[in-house]
Structures are given as structure tokens and as C-alpha cells.
């Protein structure tokens, strides 16, 4: 039997397609690797050759405070994002057609709105004497601490990340065979039991990818902490910027960037098995 391996026809022929296969990745690799190599070089040569900058980052109390704050903010915002996203993903996949449509719209529209605009929206609501404190005052809660603090930053970050976290979870949930759920129901399991003992365990791979993705995303947040924190809640990404452009400590800023990159790669490497970047895009 002749094996008809599918080959997309394409105008450059076989050798051309091999060239094409690697041409772009190589270009992209250069477009990323060369600049990153430059950054690494800066981190060990400015202001003078050596590992001064890294020593400074590891031992400096100011940087330790930034790292600890970043870790807390990222962990908390990831921990808040995941349940919200799970609930919405669940109704998106399992809900009635109308509800599913409604949730789809509310996933995709905020998705497309500029991060600046979204952060600004929260500033309006959360700032001192903003809408949130007005509402709280109407319920008799005066002096509620709002404005530029860690909680505002976390609110803005969660708001940004929920739509991203929904996608990998929903794509795993879609693959759950509804006959398995019916079987569990048929064998006398109560609906809530089916959810806890069948649905939730089967959807866990999606939760893990969302978890890894959300945490990695949160590490790189820059605009949201800058606008909602107003300089009081400086996270690692913003401190890279501060070192590079406000205090003109180029070597130190570069070294912080390298540290951030290494941490992200380490987390990516750890989560590689459960994670597929592709799920970012699949509906």
C-alpha cells in the first residue's frame, strides 16, 4: 500500500521548505538571544567588570524587600485569580448556551483592552475618595483604606490575569467526556460529589497550566503596579526600570533583568510537563 503522507503544497519545493522551517526561528533566536546576551554582558561589566551587581542584589536589604514583596503579591494574585477563572471557565464550558455566550463575551472584551486603561479604571474606583470608598461609606464603613497600596495592585493584576487563566482551564474542561459525568450520576453520586470527585480531578491539568502561566505573567507586571501602586509598591519589573532609567544604574538594572529572566525560565522548566503555551490561544 502506498503511504500517502500528507504534504502541504507550497511554492518553494522541499529544500525551500526546509530553509523556511529554520529561517524564521533562527532570525527570532538572533533577535532575542543577541539582545539578551548584551544585557547579560552589561550586568557583569557596568560600572566595572565583575559580579558586583549580583552581590549587591543578593545582599542588599532594599532588593530583598522588593523580591519578598514581589513573591507575595504574585502568589496572592495568582491564588485569587485561579478560583475566579475556574468558576468562569466552568460556566463557559458547562453552562447553558445563553450563559456560556455571556461569559465568552466578558472573557474576550476585557482581553482586548489596553492594560493602561484597565489600571486607570481601577484607580478611579479605588483611589482615596473614589467610588469604592463612597460605596463603603454608604454602608457605614468609613475610613476604609483604599488608594495606592498593595491591595489595589493585586486587584488590578487579578483583573488583568483572569481572562488569560480561563483559556487553558477551559480547553482541558472541554475535553472531559460528559459520559463519565453521566456514569457517575447514574451510579448514584450526587451532583456536588460528581464535581469534587470526578470533574475537578479531571480538570486539574488545566488548573496547573493556568497556575504556572498566571504566576509567570504576574512576575513581569509593570504597568499595573506602577499606576495602581504609584511608586509605593515597587515590584521587580518596575525596579528594573527604576535602576535603568531613573537612577541610571545600567549594570544593576541589567542584572535585575537577568535575575527575573532566570526565575521565569526556572518556573517554565519546572512546569513544562503540564504546560502547553498553545492552550493560551485555543478556545
Amino acid at each position: 500500500m502506498i503511504e500517502r503522507r500528507f504534504q502541504l503544497r507550497w511554492p518553494l519545493g522541499a529544500s525551500g521548505s526546509l530553509l523556511m522551517l529554520w529561517a524564521l526561528p533562527v532570525i527570532l533566536l538572533l533577535a532575542y538571544v543577541l539582545p539578551f546576551a548584551g544585557v547579560t554582558l552589561w550586568s557583569v561589566t557596568r560600572p566595572e567588570p565583575g559580579f558586583e551587581n549580583y552581590v549587591r542584589i543578593v545582599t542588599g536589604a532594599d532588593f530583598q524587600a522588593i523580591f519578598v514583596r514581589t513573591a507575595w503579591v504574585c502568589l496572592l494574585s495568582t491564588a485569587i485569580t485561579i478560583p475566579i477563572a475556574y468558576l468562569l471557565a466552568y460556566y463557559w464550558v458547562m453552562g447553558s448556551a445563553r450563559r456560556s455566550r455571556l461569559i465568552e463575551i466578558c472573557i474576550f472584551i476585557p482581553f482586548w483592552i489596553s492594560v493602561l486603561v484597565r489600571a486607570f479604571g481601577w484607580v478611579v474606583i479605588l483611589r482615596n475618595n473614589g467610588l469604592a470608598s463612597d460605596v463603603a461609606a454608604a454602608f457605614g464603613l468609613n475610613g476604609l483604606s483604599t488608594g495606592r497600596n498593595v491591595w489595589s495592585v493585586i486587584t488590578g493584576m487579578v483583573h488583568f490575569m483572569v481572562p488569560f487563566a480561563i483559556l487553558p482551564m477551559a480547553s482541558v474542561m472541554r475535553k472531559i467526556d460528559s459520559r463519565v459525568l453521566l456514569a457517575a450520576l447514574g451510579l448514584g453520586c450526587r451532583p456536588l460529589g460528581v464535581f469534587w470527585r470526578v470533574y475537578l480531578p479531571m480538570s486539574l491539568p488545566g488548573v496547573f497550566s493556568a497556575l504556572a502561566m498566571t504566576f509567570i505573567f504576574s512576575l513581569g507586571f509593570f504597568v499595573t503596579p506602577m499606576i495602581l501602586g504609584g511608586g509605593r509598591v515597587v515590584l521587580t519589573a518596575e525596579s528594573v526600570f527604576v535602576q535603568m532609567f531613573q537612577t541610571a544604574n545600567w549594570g544593576l538594572g541589567a542584572a535585575l533583568g537577568v535575575v527575573l529572566l532566570v526565575v521565569v525560565f526556572a518556573i517554565l522548566w519546572l512546569s513544562q510537563r503540564v504546560m502547553r503555551i498553545e492552550q493560551l490561544m485555543s478556545r
Binding site: 522551517l21 524564521l24 527570532l28 461569559i103 466578558c106 476585557p110 451532583p191 513581569g220 538594572g253 533583568g257
Partner: protein, 266 residues
Amino acid sequence: MSTARLRDLRVFPGFGLLSVGCVVFLYAPIVVLAIYSFNDGRSVTRWAGFSLRWYQTVFANQNIQTAAMNSVVIAVIAASVATVFALGAAIATVNGKKGGGEGAYVVLTFPLMVPEIVTAVASLVFFVAVGISLGFATILIAHIVFCIPFAYLPIKARLESMDATLPSAAADLYASPAKGFLRITLPLLVPGLVSGWLLAFIISLDDFIITALVAGPGATTLPLHIYGMLRLGMTPEVNAISTLMLAASTVLVLISGLLGQAGRKH
């Protein structure tokens, strides 16, 4: 009958209410922004009656128009160039599954996970080292590079879900490779190309961090301009621009949604 039983799984007590709360949370800042863009007063939180004066201010502001024009021009060029590159890469990776397609795929999607501030600093270091003066050109180059992965994913997804026998059939019927590509593969790919282009377009349009670092003095885009306005103080003028951007985004989402549905029917 079975759907009736599955419905039992939807009605957990309290879940519905919680999900309504989540939806409100997602919409709250956006709705508030849009409402106060019609405020007659200067405050973004104190309502002083309905008016369109802030929209008039936006349309009369020459700087905003220049910035918006720059943004759109950059986004159109960057998205188009990135889509062409991404198309080549997608065909190559789907074809070359055995010859390193996976490796190429990882390289192509990796940039999506790198924190943007690091990419921004790296791009800046690169442009400074090579000696290209910062401005419109550096923004454009940086945008093309970071848009490629975004344009690539939908095109690749479309290619993989396409009926693979059609190009082969064209070849069996003596279409030259070029003709088969232009008349069969390319038209079938249109939905993927459009959503890839739209995604790249919106990513480029919204980008703040990389643009801010490689823009240099003089060149400005809409996000940079909005950031400058936010620093000077909040007036409903920012709300009005945001609402206009929101309207534009919504139209784009609707277009891509309609195209997606049309694509699914085929």
C-alpha cells in the same frame, strides 16, 4: 434525557451568584470609565451631568491625533509584516513535524513567556549597541519582532485543522505548487490569517513597555500619550479616549468572532 441530567451539574447552590460577582468584577472598571467619559465636570468620580465635551476635547487635540495616527500606522505595518513571517513559519513547522518542527515551535512561542520589561531592556541595549537612533524605526522593528509569535499561533491552529487532502488533490490535478498554494491553501487559510493579523494588530496597538523604552525623544504612540496624561492628572478626557479605544476593540473582537464562526462553518 442525558442533557437534562447534566443540567444537575450546573445548579450548584451559590455558584451562579458567585459567577455573576466575577462578571461584575471583570466589567466594573470598564463600565465606570465609560460612564464618566460623559461627565460634564472635571472629576472622574463626581457626576455633574451628561455632556460630550470631553469627546470634543479629544477630537480637537492635535497631539492625540498624531499619537493615534502613529499607533495605527505602526500597528498596521507591524501586524502585516509579522503575519507574512508567521505564515511562512507556520507552513514550515506544520510540514516539518519530523524535521525539527517541535524545536522551531518552542523557539517561536518562547517570547510569549518572557517578561516584557526584560525584552524591552534587551531591545534597547541592542539598538544602542548597533547604533540605530531611537525613534519611529526602532518602534517598528521591535513591534514586528514581538508580534510574530502572536500572529503565528492562530495561523498554525488553522493550518492544523484544515482539510489536508485539498492541496494534495490540487497537485494531483496538475496544479503547479505555486498555483496550488495561491488558489487552494491561501484562501483556506484566510480565517487564520485574519485572526493572526488582528491579534498582532491589537498587541502592537496596546503595547506600552517596549514602546516606551525604544521610542526615544519625539516619537509617541497612543499608550505613551495616555500615560503622559495620567501623570499630569486625571480628567474625563482620558476616559473619553479609553472609551473610544474600547469601542474600537469591541468592533475588532466582533469582526474576528464573526470570521471565526464563518470559518467553522466551512
